[in-house]
């Protein structure tokens, strides 16, 4: 149920974001979602793609430093309190969220959130126990197609 996320180190200057995206697009790899965390000086680009192994190879060959992390996708109702409810469950279970971001696509009244947990396996168990819907890779694909 875990998803593989690629992270890239980027310097924070104009045009730096386009180069890695163009490199994987040129190989026909679909980007499902991306998120950029940055400071004035550098940024961390996080990508979830269809074929992460191939994408990782392409990026590394082009000289980027790429890191592979397991993340968890959860869908919540896209309305006030939807996110708060999920976060409360995690907090009650004492689960550490390193960071999170929203999946760029949504369907119906659902929004998908991507979580980076310290302990993703335990997090998945807690989420399922509490009746939340954890979205796996295959299901995520249906959002884009």
């Amino acid at each position: 149920m875990k998803l593989q996320q690629l992270s890239l180190f980027l310097e924070n200057r104009p045009g730096r974001l386009e180069a890695p995206l163009a490199a994987i697009a040129a190989e026909g790899i679909n980007i499902l979602t991306l998120s950029l965390a940055d400071t004035a000086q550098f940024g961390i680009l996080r990508l979830i793609v269809r074929d992460w192994e191939k994408a990782k190879r392409i990026l590394e060959q082009a000289g980027w430093v790429v890191n592979l992390t397991e993340v968890v996708a959860v869908d919540v109702l896209d309305r006030p309190g939807g996110l708060a409810g999920a976060l409360r469950i995690l907090e009650d279970a004492n689960l550490n969220v390193e960071y999170m971001y929203a999946f760029s696509l949504r369907r119906d009244d659902k929004a998908i959130l991507i979580f980076r947990f310290e302990d993703p396996d335990r997090a998945i168990q807690v989420l399922l126990d509490q009746g939340l819907h954890v979205v796996d890779g295959d299901e995520l694909m249906t959002f884009v197609s």
């Binding site: 992270s7 310097e11 000086q41 430093v65 960071y99 980076r116």
Partner: protein, 433 residues
């Protein structure tokens, strides 16, 4: 030990000897017009030296002084008393010459014998000298030192590496004498010849003649399966033999009965606190032909007076960490690129590619240390990346005493150079002119 009495002499006794020799050396230097004028001008002479600290009343001698006195203005003996002339090519301008009396040569081989024996040379050994012979002091200095110990010399000299290796294979020398970079060339060439460098007979090596690092030592030792010893010297004061390592290999023992070594701030010319890096200033206490007074070596190192496990009582010096020419002054603080490198070495995965950028956006200097990101240190978590920058910044502050901005940069974004890497980009000059 080659000369147990001298090398383990109690400190107080040695200081008395140094004082006596320093006074005699000032008297000898007064025979040289260059020094005589300086002494007269300052109203000083041998009588002015009442303690070793009085050395600070003596003038400095620089490389430029030597050039101005070219070729033999600094001789304290008549030409006919010279037994040998060496020289340094000098990267700029004409060479400088150094003269030796027969006694100077005897002293010199004795000093080389000291560090060679400290680093394992025994009379039954054979040593291959792959240093250049000629005006350069390395070849002959070590050659006579080895002979003095009673070991056999193979004076193969520098170059023709394949032949060096064949000679090694045929004659089984235990000891290799050359520059550290040439030791690595020998290992490479042996592999090219289809040999395992570990199979070479060499068991230990004495390397010098150029600055090197601990990393390089490990590499040489791994590749050749030997023990590598460092030694230091410069032709202006004698050649190799000023200092060398003992089996503890934690600094080079300075032959203090022959050299008075000061460690000074190259800007203020005041002594640096014990253990801090500074410019080595060397007075040759026993040289007859050229009594060099407070020669400014421009070499940066640290001094260590703590006792050594080997039993020698002499002060030790660190490796040469750089040249004063490389020194940066940041908001009044002297900073050497080697200090930044040392700070980075404390943070795993951050070397070897970095660049120190100095600018003055307003009235104050600013330092940016650019460090290439590396898979080992990259994390998808921003807090970890910030912590990494903070940690590097703290280490730089601890080692170099300055606050630097730490900029993580993409791999391969810092320009690569063949040979010596360019580590500093000082942009301050550009805005001034």
């Amino acid at each position: 030990m080659w000369d147990r009495a001298a090398e383990t002499q109690p400190r107080a006794e040695r200081e008395a000897l140094q004082l006596e020799r320093l006074r005699a050396q000032v008297a000898r230097a007064a025979r040289v017009p260059f020094y005589r004028d300086l002494f007269t001008h300052r109203g000083i002479g041998p009588h002015s030296i009442r303690s070793l600290a009085d050395i600070r009343r003596l003038p400095f001698t620089t490389k430029d002084d030597m050039r101005r006195q070219h070729p033999f203005g600094l001789l304290a003996v008549p030409r006919r008393e010279l037994a040998r002339i060496h020289g340094s090519s000098g990267t700029t301008g004409k060479p400088t010459f150094v003269g030796y009396t027969a006694q100077d040569l005897a002293t010199w081989s004795d000093l080389c014998a000291r560090f060679l024996v400290a680093g394992g040379l025994r009379p039954e050994h054979t040593a291959q000298v792959a240093f250049g012979y000629g005006l350069f002091t390395g070849g002959f200095g070590l050659h006579y030192g080895i002979e003095k110990v009673g070991a056999a010399v193979i004076p193969v000299a520098a170059g023709n590496t394949r032949r060096q290796i064949e000679i090694m294979r045929d004659l089984d020398p235990e000891v290799l004498i050359c520059t550290p970079s040439y030791a690595l060339t020998i290992a490479d060439t042996a592999r090219e010849m289809g040999m395992d460098p570990h199979a070479l007979p060499i068991r230990f090596g004495h390397f010098g003649g150029e600055p090197w690092t601990e990393d390089m030592r490990r590499e040489i030792e791994d590749q050749l399966d030997i023990q590598a010893f460092n030694n230091y010297g410069l032709s202006e004061v004698i050649g190799p033999g000023v200092s060398g390592e003992c089996p503890a290999r934690s600094g080079m023992h300075i032959q203090e009965d022959h050299f008075l070594v000061e460690c000074l701030d190259p800007e203020t010319l005041e002594p640096v606190p014990e253990g801090e890096p500074g410019e080595l200033v060397i007075t040759a206490l026993t040289r007859e032909a050229m009594p060099m007074i407070r020669y400014r070596t421009r070499d940066i190192a640290r001094l260590d007076r703590s006792p050594c496990t080997c039993g020698r009582t002499t002060m030790r010096m660190s490796r040469i960490a750089g040249r004063t020419d490389d020194m940066l002054i940041i908001r009044g603080v002297n900073v050497f690129p080697s200090q930044i490198e040392e700070a980075l070495l404390r943070v795993e995965g951050t070397t070897p590619h970095y660049l120190i950028e100095v600018s003055r956006p307003g009235t104050l200097d600013e330092v940016h240390v650019k460090v290439e990101i590396h898979p080992e240190i990259f994390s998808d978590r921003m807090d970890r990346m910030q912590a990494l920058c903070d940690r590097i910044g703290r280490e730089i502050h601890t080692v170099a005493g300055i606050r630097a901005h730490v900029d993580l940069v993409e791999p391969r974004s810092i320009e690569r150079f063949v040979g010596k890497a360019k580590r500093v980009l000082d942009k301050r000059g550009l805005t001034d002119c």
